[in-house]
Amino acid sequence: MRLEAADEMTLPAILRHFENRISEVSAALMMLGIAALLIVAPAAADAHSFDLIGVAIVDAWLATTFIAVGTVRIIALIANGGWPVYGPWMRAGGALLGALIWSQMCLSLIVLGSPSPGIPIYAVLTASELISIYRALAGHHGKHQR
């Protein structure tokens, strides 16, 4: 399903295009938002939730990583259906990276930080990303994307 030229920027048209993939769009936008925050305020990288990610990604590359993953996911979701072979795998790969990132942020808050409302949020995001992997790949065969 592609965005129609006549109603491409209306809210109903956008919701119709993304259908039940709106959770993936939200996760991708969260990543882009975190990247914007890290660019505007680099001190945000000192937050406890980023402590364990720092083992794999240095602070200087944190924003770049979030931008890259978020952008790839958004592109795959916008082009959904247009790339029947690579689109679902791009969505699944983005969801896997998302699950790894959110789980490490959740773990950071659990083991390093004080009790935070971010713990259940990141846990649910991790579970949601794992479900998105299944949803992106289940029976896509180029036609039946979910």
């Binding site: 083992v55 794992l130 949803r135 790949l137 029976g139």
Partner: protein, 109 residues
């Protein structure tokens, strides 16, 4: 050498095993879901959902079917009427010819 190893382990942070365990758990679940997704087929989307065929729409379709049946019967009856009227016409023509013959006979006398 030991100092390099020490620095490397320090760079990993205090919870490398926990981190690796969580990452492996996530990867394992992801692999399981990819395998499961490759087996499952998405249900084909029907152009018209079945529930739409219930209720008033179903009644309407039944009515259309009955109207079509009645129309077929009417067509049969009209066809029979046409045959009968054809017979009547032939009879009338025959009667007219007979009357004309009678009239001609009576004039000749």
């Amino acid at each position: 050498m030991e100092s390099i190893n020490g620095k490397a382990f320090e760079a990993l942070g205090p919870y490398p095993i926990v981190q690796a365990a969580v990452a492996l758990l996530i990867l394992s679940i992801a692999l399981l879901l990819v395998w499961r997704a490759s087996r499952d087929k998405a249900p084909a989307r029907e152009p018209v959902p079945q529930w739409l065929m219930m209720g008033p729409l179903h009644d309407m379709m039944m009515s259309v079917h009955e109207v079509a049946e009645e129309t077929r019967r009417t067509n049969d009856l009209l066809s029979d009427c046409k045959d009968v009227l054809g017979d009547v016409l032939r009879e009338l023509q025959h009667a007219r010819q007979t009357l004309e013959l009678i009239r001609n006979e009576s004039r000749m006398r």
